[in-house]
């Protein structure tokens, strides 16, 4: 399932996938895979993304039923 929340939060801060990837210490393709729902990140990377985007885990990764 696509993670549009990360994409929206990133766009809100005017960050590209590459900017977010560099801030989190991962490759751009990894961020792309997360946004496309092709890869489930570890909690460590989830936290790093949340801190970079200034969001909570719930806001970015919790799926509403």
């Amino acid at each position: 399932m696509k993670n549009l929340k990360i994409k929206a939060a990133r766009a809100g801060l005017d960050m590209s996938q590459d900017d977010l990837a560099k801030a989190c210490g991962v490759s751009r393709q990894t961020i792309n895979a997360i946004e496309k729902g092709d890869y489930n990140p570890t909690i460590k990377l989830c936290l790093s993304i949340c801190k970079t985007l200034g969001k909570t885990l719930d806001e970015l990764f919790w799926e509403e039923q």
Binding site: G25, S27, Q29, N32, L45
Partner: protein, 180 residues
């Protein structure tokens, strides 16, 4: 051990040392943080682990086929060393190809452009060595393809990896393509 064998062994040893030194130098020069070790992120590590698994199975199958041919009494017109090295080269190609197709061949701290320059240079170097060996008539030993032919196998392996990286690089656009 006669003197020619001794010289040959010394030559192989010196060649091996020079090869390792060049490999370390290339590893150092292709990193952008002064390290030799490649840094991969968690997704890349995960995908690479799968690649190692596929490469292991490939090598096992190649060795299995080689053993089976021996058991059946079928002799390929190649020396055992060439047979073994071919299996290794195929498995390395599988690992590299899997990595390239899943965006985990190049590490986070690697200069992609430098590697894309080094790969064809290494391929051409191997090709030139292979041609030099064939010109001196070292390729065939007792009617079998001998160890010097490994240069051609290495050249083919490097060119396959280079072309795959080139195609994937073109496909990716090398830009900040959001949907790639």
């Amino acid at each position: 051990m006669d003197q020619i064998t001794l010289y040959k062994s010394m030559g192989v040893l010196v060649g091996l040392c020079i090869g390792i030194a060049i490999a370390i130098l290339i590893l150092f020069l292709t990193k952008n943080n002064g390290k030799i070790k490649a840094d991969y992120d968690e997704r890349q590590e995960l995908v690479r682990h799968k690649g190692y698994k596929y490469a292991f199975y490939t090598l096992a199958i190649c060795n299995g086929i080689s053993c089976l041919l021996d058991i059946c009494g079928l002799q390929l017109p190649v020396e055992k060393s060439v047979e073994v090295m071919t299996g290794i080269a195929i498995s390395i190609t599988v690992l590299a190809f899997h990595g390239i197709m899943n965006d985990c061949y190049f590490a986070l701290n690697e200069k992609k452009n430098s590697i894309m320059v080094v790969l064809p240079v290494v391929g051409l170097f191997n090709l030139a060595t292979g041609i030099a060996n064939s010109m001196t008539g070292n390729i065939f030993v007792d009617g079998k393809v001998g160890f010097p032919a490994i240069s051609f196998i290495c050249a083919a392996m490097v060119f396959v990896i280079f072309i795959a990286a080139l195609i994937k690089g073109t496909d990716d656009g090398g830009s900040d393509d959001e949907e790639s």
